[in-house]
């Protein structure tokens, strides 16, 4: 099994499905990433936990993590074995639980959503592991000097058929992660009650905004 951590969450400009957000996992070498689509309600608690945003109301996955913590049950590992895309996008997953009252171990095998697996691992602070098979299939090797953010940006530019003129550099801003930051800003606004009523409808607008920033327009 390959230990991975959650590098960040970004809008997924490459698809028009319900998986409007992309969670990027990164392995311990920092050279291999894994991108998986998640839905908005799965992305929100992950972004909140990663960036210390306080959710005004706990999301379902927060409630689950809190209840189990109250009962002295800890999650020791989340193992993602396989991913199926057809007919339904799900992960075959094993959750390894330990009940502190009995010290008993419970292994739970089930198909679950990517966002739930990532969220649960993040909220409980337990290791997230990918099977060798899954890592092999879904892994993307970063080029020398390429960051996960740059990989996403380059993929977006390629998809949009945009080639940078010679000598022109991308604007990445101070943080060097403008796409990741944009989602944090979007969710912060959403927590203040300024959620886009139809996030799928503002995808094009957000993509344009993102490209304009990157291309210094």
């Amino acid at each position: 099994m390959i230990p991975v951590s959650i590098e960040g969450v970004r809008r997924n400009f490459e698809t028009s499905s319900v998986y409007m957000y992309n969670v990027t996992l990164i392995d311990e070498t920092g050279q291999r990433i894994f991108n998986f689509g998640v839905e908005r309600h799965e992305a929100l608690p992950i972004v909140a936990a990663l960036h210390n945003l306080t959710l005004p109301r706990p999301q379902t996955i927060n409630v689950m993590a809190d209840i189990l913590k109250l009962h002295g049950i800890t999650l020791e590992e989340v193992r993602l074995e396989r991913v199926s895309h057809s007919p339904i996008y799900l992960f075959s997953t094993t959750l390894l639980w330990r009940d502190s009252k009995t010290n008993g171990e419970v292994e739970q095998k089930m198909d679950m959503r990517a966002g739930d697996a990532f969220g649960l691992s993040l909220l409980t602070g337990c290791p997230l592991l990918l099977s060798d098979e899954l890592a092999q299939k879904a892994g993307i090797m970063l080029a020398e000097g390429e960051t996960p953010e740059l990989y996403r940006i380059n993929t977006l530019l390629k998809r949009e058929g945009i080639t940078l003129p010679e000598g022109k550099k991308l604007r990445l801003g101070y943080s060097k992660t403008p796409m990741r930051d944009a989602l944090v800003k979007e969710f912060k606004a959403s927590l203040l009650g300024k959620a886009p009523p139809f996030p799928e409808e503002d995808m094009e607008q957000r993509k344009k905004g993102c490209l304009a920033f990157l291309l210094r327009e």
């Binding site: 379902t60 409630v63 809190d66 189990l68 009962h71 419970v106 739970q108 089930m110 959503r113 409808e201």
Partner: protein, 218 residues
């Protein structure tokens, strides 16, 4: 004091486009409490209530399965309080037991009610919440009829004298519409979204109610 209620149904809110309304109902006292929830939570609730198998387990499925595997029981769901500031919001509490250990935890009403639907545990509402924001329906009026009349009022539509609302065979067209919506979503027909779709769905429902539409399959 607590009042035991059941989930009467889930309907789409045509007042606020990102909201669905879950109606809690006390049959004997004819008391109704409407709570707004999100689309995702509404769909999960409807699937469970209508025994519609979900090909893609939701987070609630995960939670309930995990509780089962670990011996955690959902004992009761309580609608505890209601606040109006900064936004109108209900607070719920879930009571859980595992062996001798009993714990209570705050949750969104949508999660709490979802857990109740999955586990068949009792749902109770604090009397003062019902008094503040619940209503008592007169004899002969149903939650569906109340919903329809509220929408007409909101849309400033006044029925001409003698004209009656069409409620169809089931008498619950708005509730049925959400069930159809969930089934369609599971068949891969895109879930409702977007302002245009929202307005269209509202128009269709109003046209049906007002008898301006061929009646089909309600």
């Amino acid at each position: 004091m607590m009042v035991a209620v059941t989930i009467e149904g889930v309907r789409r809110s045509f007042w606020r486009h990102d909201t669905y309304i879950v109606s809690l109902w006390h049959e004997g006292e004819r008391r109704l409490l409407d709570i707004g929830i999100g689309q995702q939570e509404a769909y999960t609730l409807v699937m469970e209530m209508q025994h519609i198998a979900s090909p893609r387990p939701t987070t609630l499925h995960l939670m309930v399965n995990t509780f089962k595997a670990l011996g955690v029981m959902v004992e009761e769901v309580r609608i505890e309080s209601f606040a109006t500031s900064p936004l109108p919001v209900f607070y719920a509490v879930v009571r859980l037991g595992q062996g001798d250990m009993v714990q209570e935890l705050d949750a969104r009403p949508s999660d709490a009610l979802g857990l109740a639907a999955f586990t068949q545990c009792p749902i109770v509402v604090k009397e003062d919440v019902l008094e503040r924001v619940g209503i008592v329906l007169p004899e002969g009026q149903t939650p569906e009829l109340h919903y329809a009349e509220q929408l007409l009022k909101h849309e400033r539509i006044v029925l001409t004298e003698g004209k009656k609302l069409r409620l169809g065979y089931s008498k619950t067209p708005a509730r049925d519409a959400v069930i159809r919506e969930v089934k369609a979503a599971l068949l891969g027909i895109p879930e409702p979204s977007g302002e245009k779709e929202f307005e269209q769905a509202k128009e269709n429902y109003l046209a049906f109610l007002l008898g301006q539409y061929p009646e089909k399959g309600s």
